[in-house]
């Protein structure tokens, strides 16, 4: 359990939440959970109102020019904030690895510089908790069998490594089981899921088979987008297996379900 009075320990930390467009519109419970976890460990959460989307879908589908106003908007929205937390490995990776590039495509060196500065103080949720706050036990209680899919961009672009698992292992009551072939892509891939639906579905079928082998009640991940895909397949096949974002598991306590 979390030691008493965490706020005294971390009360000085303020962080801006980058909700991400998908979470905002489709799975808002992930952002609510992120707020709950952060506040529980004493972080004052701010919600920059001008934020929208990181533009990753535009860049990755071949429309970096269309992403220019999105990067501009993101930089304007988060410019005054010292720490930015994102409940998505993929969107964090876009901010770190794409934003400055998009700004340079616009020929805007000042924007590129500002984007780089923002990227340097942007963290994916597990990075923020483990690296910035030095917390692994957030006082969560989740008495279920869970298997964790590491998601490609968290794994290979951010290299978050063991951080999400460290957080999950500290959850009271959790029965965390290893996912066979965890590092294999689930087949989401953004617009890949629409442009190559057959291949995407074949990859999903194998991921679902791996999830089922674990006997888990929930498949967890740090990206709502991958979970939308995995969960969409689990639901279509009426497997009875649910999905939970890392933040949702960490937000659940004995008192607050």
């Amino acid at each position: 359990m979390w030691p008493a009075a965490p706020r005294q320990q971390y009360g000085a930390v303020r962080a801006a939440l980058f909700v991400t467009c998908l979470v905002d519109g489709v799975v808002p419970q992930v952002a609510k959970a992120t707020v709950r976890v952060l506040e529980r460990v004493g972080v004052t959460v701010e919600m920059p109102w001008e934020q929208t989307c990181c533009g990753q879908m535009h860049v990755n589908t071949g429309y970096p020019r269309e992403a220019i106003p999105l990067v501009r908007n993101h930089v304007a929205a988060f410019e005054g904030h010292d720490a930015i937390v994102v409940p998505s490995g993929s969107c964090t990776a876009a901010i770190r690895h794409q934003h400055a590039d998009v700004a340079r495509l616009a020929g805007d060196a000042a924007l590129a510089g500002a984007a780089e500065a923002i990227a340097a103080r942007t963290w994916e949720l597990s990075e923020f908790l483990v690296d910035v706050l030095g917390v692994t036990d957030v006082g969560a209680y989740f008495p279920h069998r869970v298997t964790y899919h590491p998601t490609c961009h968290s794994l290979r672009l951010l290299r978050v490594g063991q951080r999400p698992l460290q957080l999950l292992r500290a959850v009271e009551g959790i029965d965390l089981v290893e996912l066979p072939g965890a590092e294999q892509c689930c087949g989401f891939g953004g617009t890949f899921a629409l442009k190559n639906p057959a291949v995407s579905s074949a990859m999903l079928a194998d991921k679902i088979a791996a999830v089922r082998r674990t006997g888990a009640a929930y498949a967890a991940a740090g990206d709502a987008s991958c979970l939308l895909h995995i969960g969409g397949g689990l639901s279509r096949l009426s497997t009875g297996i649910g999905t939970r974002h890392l933040a949702e598991i960490l937000a659940t306590t004995r008192r607050q379900r």
């Binding site: 519109g25 919600m47 920059p48 071949g62 190559n196 639906p197």
Partner: protein
């Protein structure tokens, strides 16, 4: 950006272009349960072996960096190194030919063979000659070429196409190979079983006769040393050694990017290549030669075929570092399921998805840069550190730009992207768009989840449900929960 002026690989010859759009070819391949089993087994086996072979090398990351740096130097000074190579090969009794594209290369090789009076040649496995369709061009000129690599022989006898860079018959299992041998190899024993030892013995006996009769051999090259004029072929079966030494005339067709500056650079690549490709510490046969020995002729055909055009794109040129190890194919979740034929090119998988469209120009391979979930497994294993995912993203923008230039008015996708970007570049507009998305709640009212989406989004619900949109977006929740904190 356009890359006019640099010729790309010509159409109508060789094998670099998709005939069927990738999503369609892939969907068909996915239905082939035999293919899925063969590929799944083969790729997972070699993947584990490669990981073990690489883990033995403590300075693997430094080797990768060195490999990338050496190749980048070659690409930056290709003009100089090519002339140096020509000079060295010529000084050692070889003849160098320059081929701008597949047609020129095929003509040069056919002419050289014709001059020998021979009508039969043996071949070492070579990607460059597959790329330019040399066997077909030679057949049209009345010359029969025999592939001597076991897997290439299986492909050739099966009237098939290679589906993997290193293991061209990876899509075949031993039952299928037995059938091909019995059908197409007149000297195969009638009681041939599907035991690998028996299959290999049958092929060996068949090929031995070809080796001893051949007067002309054709090879590719893994490396060419500019400093010394040395050509290198690495292989596992010894067929290459036979071809490179027995016949009177040797013709080597090589992409211009295969150069290494100096002899000592081989030290890096002879570690990187075998461990990445066959998961061996060292490949069984490494043949090297410089020029021609007395009584033999050596011709080197330097092939461009779209490589200079590839070099012209600063964000795409690193694809020319590729040493054809095929590690990226073996780890690719897309390749593992579709196999190589779906890509339409002799270069399948992740490297093919970035190389083929650059060699042909993106207009001729517009689907390939999109044939990836951008999972990044390829970049992780690439022995010359080609950032394939970033390059795929870049090439996607070239495809989009090409369509923008050549289509009247925006494509529906471009219009949707632009509309979305307009909505997303302002928080107020975006909040309105999200609220409009609530209409989607209607679609999910029956099951509590959406089972059928309209239009292009139907591809999503072909295999996946979508949760019913929430009553309240996050920002609306925040506004209602925390009045005064919304900055409005």
């Amino acid at each position: 950006m356009t890359f006019l002026g640099m010729p790309t690989a010509p159409p109508g010859v060789g094998q670099l272009r998709q005939e069927v759009p990738f999503p369609v070819a892939a969907a068909r391949a996915l239905e082939d349960s035999q293919l899925r089993r063969n590929l799944g087994h083969a790729t997972s086996t070699i993947r584990a072996k490669r990981a073990a072979a690489v883990a033995e090398v403590a300075d693997w990351q430094e080797l990768r960096a060195a490999g990338a740096a050496i190749k980048d130097d070659v690409l930056a000074h290709l003009d100089r190194y090519l002339l140096q190579l020509e000079e060295q090969v010529t000084a050692r009794g070889g003849t160098v030919h320059w081929a701008g594209d597949a047609n020129e290369a095929n003509q040069i090789v056919a002419g050289l063979i014709r001059a020998t009076g021979q009508r039969h040649v043996v071949k070492v496995k070579s990607m460059a000659t597959q790329e330019i369709g040399l066997n077909e061009a030679l057949a049209a000129a009345g010359i029969e070429a025999t592939e001597t690599d076991l897997a290439e022989l299986i492909v050739q006898l099966g009237h098939d196409r290679p589906s993997h860079i290193l293991v061209p018959a990876i899509h075949r299992n031993r039952n299928q190979i037995r059938d091909i041998f019995l059908r197409e190899m007149p000297d195969a024993p009638a009681d041939l079983s599907d035991e690998p030892v028996e299959l290999a013995a049958a092929a060996r006996a068949h090929l031995r006769r070809k080796f001893l009769a051949a007067q002309v051999a054709i090879s590719g090259a893994n490396f060419a040393i500019a400093e010394t004029g040395t050509l290198a072929v690495v292989e596992s079966e010894g067929n290459g050694r036979m071809c490179l030494t027995l016949p009177r005339t040797l013709i080597t067709v090589m992409g211009i990017e295969k150069i290494l500056p100096a002899w000592r650079d081989l030290e890096v690549f002879l570690q990187l290549l075998p461990r990445s490709s066959t998961a061996e510490r060292m490949n069984p046969y490494t043949s090297m030669w410089a020029g021609a020995v007395e009584g033999q002729d050596f011709h080197l055909v330097l092939l461009d075929n779209g490589r200079t055009a590839t070099l012209a794109d600063p964000r795409g040129r690193a694809a020319l570092r590729c040493i054809r190890c095929s590690a990226c194919l073996n780890v690719c979740p897309v390749y593992e399921r579709t196999g190589g034929h779906a890509y339409g090119s002799v270069y399948p998988g992740p490297i093919g998805a970035v190389l083929s469209p650059q060699l042909t120009g993106v207009a001729d391979n517009p689907d390939l840069p999109f044939a990836s979930s951008l999972c990044g497994a390829c970049f992780e294993v690439c022995p010359v550190a080609i950032d394939i995912p970033a390059m795929l993203v870049h090439l996607r923008s070239r495809v989009v730009d090409d369509k923008r230039e050549h289509h009247h008015g925006p494509t529906p996708e471009a219009a949707a992207m632009r509309g979305l970007a307009w909505a997303m570049s302002d928080a107020r507009r975006w909040a309105w768009a999200l609220r409009a998305g609530h209409a989607g709640r209607l679609l999910g009212r029956r099951y509590g989840r959406i089972r059928h989406l309209p239009g292009p989004l139907a591809a999503w619900t072909s295999s996946r449900d979508l949760p019913r949109p929430p009553r309240q977006t996050f920002r609306d929740w925040w506004r209602s929960e925390r009045p005064g904190e919304d900055g409005a």
